[in-house]
Symmetry: D2
């Protein structure tokens, strides 16, 4: 028989005595209490609590992927936890509206007391970036200094260490590279896909040339666009070109992983690819939300302190604006859409393959002629 557990009291469980005693406005300390400083503190504390939760989720997901084989169940778990992160991110963004109820003039009442403190010094946010897979080279210098220069020595240590741990990006990449579906006996994805694309492009060219609806000038433009598309596909089909783009920092995902990601997108209707597809999708959702948060945050800073030097000496707005685009982690997954082709043009999978991408139960019961269909 399991033993009873001692009774728990709400405010003890949540340690509210400490939590609610952790707001000590500087303005009061200096005898000039500014009503809005409490908001400023609490808003940032809430951010840090959410950051802790995001780190909790990211670490657990990285742990799930840190094996040579990721159980299907765990992909479902990872998707659920990434989904949770995106729900938190929506709050992070909406929360800016609360901070914006403080007017710039009200902020000035206590701003000088806080110098040089700055959200720029949030260790947890940096950790999140590193856990996701932000690369040191990717980071912008700030006043010609690396981001960690602005934090305490022990915090610097934490950050430097985290830079060397395997990130979510790296784990997802390896997981993609390991996919067995690129090379199934009886179906080789890459050559099949390539052949299809080439037929498609030829067809597009023909359509343009024979398009009785369009003027010569329009045709000319359309052919220009077509060649642009042909080029990008050419780059896709040439591993050297791909490595080149990676070297130039314009791609990041390995050639093999890119192929796997495309396969998952194109054949996501096969049961065994459902969860992998959801995984790739939620990674893009998450990246999109982080990037939106950076953008809205930059706007808020602009409106709060204008172009003035931000706390922490940051020329806040312009620096933040610059990070928005540069700090995407899964940009390659956004770009994937460039290479999708309509289902209608997609080569049909051989029956045997289809079967092997379905559920054992269905297959078994079918072969046993006690049809799954009749039962379910």
């Amino acid at each position: 028989m399991s033993k009873p557990y001692p009774p728990v009291y709400y405010s003890d469980y949540l340690q509210l005595d400490r939590l609610l005693a952790s707001q000590t406005p500087k303005s009061a300390e200096y005898g000039k209490p500014a009503h809005d400083e409490t908001l400023f503190i609490i808003v940032h504390q809430v951010y840090e609590l959410w950051f802790k939760q995001i780190i909790h989720e990211l670490s657990s997901i990285i742990h799930l992927f840190a094996h040579d084989y990721v159980d299907e169940k765990n992909i479902g778990v990872a998707v659920a936890r990434l989904n949770r992160i995106t729900e938190i991110q929506k709050l992070l963004i909406d929360q800016l509206r609360v901070l914006e109820t403080m007017t710039p003039l009200d902020f000035l009442e206590f701003r000088e007391y806080l110098l040089p403190a700055s959200g720029f010094q949030s260790i947890q946010f940096r950790l999140i970036e590193n856990l996701l897979g932000m690369e040191s080279e990717q980071r912008l210098l700030f006043n010609k200094e690396a981001y960690y220069v602005y934090v305490s020595p022990e915090h610097q240590a934490v950050l430097r260490e985290s830079e060397h741990r395997a990130s979510l990006f790296q784990h997802v990449q390896r997981w993609l590279e390991r996919t067995p579906f690129l090379d199934l006996e009886g179906f080789q994805f890459w050559p099949t896909y390539r052949a299809t694309v080439e037929r498609m492009l030829q067809n597009d060219r023909a359509i343009i040339l024979n398009n009785t609806f369009s003027t010569e000038e329009e045709k000319h433009k359309q052919l220009q666009e077509l060649s642009k598309n042909e080029e990008s596909f050419a780059a896709l089909f040439d591993e050297h070109k791909h490595k080149d783009l990676i070297a130039k920092g314009r791609r990041r995902l390995s050639y093999q992983a890119t192929q796997a990601a495309l396969l998952i997108h194109l054949y996501r209707d096969e049961p065994i690819l459902h969860q992998p597809f959801r995984l790739l999708t939620v990674l893009v959702d998450m990246d999109e939300l982080f990037t939106s948060w950076r953008y809205r945050h930059a706007l808020m800073v602009h409106r709060m302190i204008g172009n003035k030097i931000g706390t922490g000496g940051s020329t806040g707005y312009h620096y933040l604006r610059a990070t928005v685009e540069k700090y995407k982690i899964f940009a390659d997954l956004f770009d994937l859409s460039t290479f999708l082709i309509p289902r209608s043009k997609l080569p049909e999978l051989p029956e045997e393959i289809k079967k092997s991408l379905g559920f054992y139960y269905s297959v078994k019961s079918n072969t046993e002629t006690q049809s799954y269909a009749e039962k379910h």
Copy 2:
């Protein structure tokens, strides 16, 4: 070679000439233009456009389920489309904030011109209710009249007809009842689950009785609660009691379907149950959002016209408030949580069963000793 398609122009494609010419305020017609009537019209037109989209999705989902066998792929499709509906529902709710930028006084400027028109007459919304599975008996009379009395004869016909079509609720119920997993050779869900529950309840009783932390009075209370729980489980395990509750309108989902829903919740980690679990979850999401929409809508009416007789003679607020709870469709799925038991206490599935609930590929490759693990 596929032929080119004639070029399309944005505003023709969207038929903007008609769309944007379909707002004719009565106040202007009567020579007393009220600025806000345009908002009133457009907000309601947007609602109707979203309703059309929701009907489009619901009909397609019902069509997917209208077979004796629902392909796994289609469950994924259904989930995606239900998810889309929930995203639309979030807009329907937030949209009330836009309408609330019109003050009651501004509404009065044109309200009398619209009588007795009322959102109560939205055919599409009624259709949505019927497609979901609202039962005529479930509906509240309004001024002692059935809901369709207030619409035009041809609209009445449409509604009456829709009442007799099979609803999403009925299709989902049948699909649940067909599940083959309740009775697998080597694993019978219901008796196993029941035995587990009974052990659990005995254990709970023992814990309470031996709980050195609690006073006699507390123990007394806890035992009362326990018996309440025992009762609800008793009702669950007695098909007659269940039918009774259905007759009384306190349950709706059939006994067989209820068992299947519970199984899906408890064993949702098995790959083949991933999508079914997501389906049950999104149905609850959708119900929750409709019910929230009804609630927020009632509040808005209260604040807009107070307790006055609403347009269409509805004592708006009170009627709307009454519908909020009564009009849940999948209330049984909410109640399911009452019967869940911790994973830790859940009987382990036999290996053979586990295997058959997994993916064919994995199993096959494993047996072929060219382990899936090594490859993926």
Copy 3:
């Protein structure tokens, strides 16, 4: 010259060492770590931080109103702070979506360790209710006990004490009662308004009787509705009836304050009534959002634990559902719309009155014939 302030470090300022060390899951303590317990803790801690902020704002607003004369400036300040509360409330509601990413089954992994802790024991939330003006009689008993029985003795003391402090409701009521505009030399609001209403109702009756568009039956219905409206106006114009409704708990706002609130609504276009009108509006917004939060929260509990006895022995869902409506504070302000009349039918204010409700500058400059108009 003002002195420099010692430099501040972000994580010290926010006391992150304590804050981020205040999450200690019970499940880990008992050696059965449940991944989602961290979310459960952090979500509730964030709620409590926001509650602290709301209390900070409410207290400051009550302080602003705790004088025989509220400076116009301070009404603007109060509106801004109430607006901030509504922005926070929107987060409180959306935050439920994050909690709902935890499934009922996942909750069961650690739920038993927390008993009998319950959000029901949140002192801060009770304080908010009391600061707003919740009345003890208004509260529902819970298992036949008053709400404070469930918290620690010292917390009980805090709550009982707060029940006796003057609430926002009471302060707003007094401020309304003090309004000088009900009785201006040359303009008496109440009799003027009453006469207008009576003319309006007679006119409505005539319209119905002479309405060639409607059948006898329709006319009958319309006349019934009309009498209902006449009754509610009758109650408004009879102070005894009003006091009666208050005694019966169907009204709360005093007769004098109700008149003032109506005046503000009807003549809100006069500059001096702009802020008072915004104040009444944001009070309704706030009430609407609290009530929505209660509703969504009840739904979440239903879906998380079904009809099971909630932590803290609460039959969670049904109790929470019951509070939603009963716990409105400013319901009378919602009802006000019942008594609004169209601007077009509103008696024009005498020029002298209009002037005195405008800005001094404009008036002065106008009289000085160096017209404001020409300058601005």
Copy 4:
């Protein structure tokens, strides 16, 4: 006696027969019905309906400002309508989530049928930009062509015409330039403000130099930052420099209007400046939301079509990204914060001035010693 109005029927009033018959998917027309095309159409139609509403509000506001004198009441009205626009904008942004429930692969099912149609051709959105005050020179060329080249000749005419109408920006600017408060007898804002700023900067320099907390290196950095701030103030106090920045396109708001905007921000607590301050605030809100919408829209396009040539030949993503920042209308109002100074350092207004910025009623009653205070 006013006459009765003919009864109105909901679906006639909203012209639902036309509205709901205005969706004709191309994919169906070509015999390859794509389920998601309906969503694509309806989402865009909803956008256009909201655009119509925004145009309705903007036009009415511009009309209110198209006089040499804007009545205080009308500023309140303008604020309310701009607030409504911001509530609509929040929907426009959230609505992208609905569109994103359509996956890139599903879009491909019908994308080719729509070419070259593109949201780029939304006349209403262009009109909104022009009504707000977008300048032709400000616009980016697209494939080396002006934006209107891509629309039908009659639509081009509409757009060109709108470019020459006075915009919201111009009206607000004129209204600011007309403000009488910059030069009141007994108080001249600009010189007073300037003197204050100069004292403040000197003080800051002294603080830095005497700051015992900071190292020489830190002091050096801080002095650099200080000079940057001094420069930006210098530019503010030199009308020629200001005109220079305007010529360079780095400022837009006239010198006089900039001063007025600053005055309103700094003395917004005076009753007569409440509404003007709210006006400037909501203009920034609106700009912020448009810019956020552009950003999220660009992200959505990136994820939907990658870097492929967008419908309408637009290299969608990159073009859209480029517009986000460039298309701000009220950027100068964001920048204002750069020049705010703490209330504590703000020169007190002379009593006589204060009085004249208050309400006539208060002043009058005070002077008449039947103090407003005692009454209110």
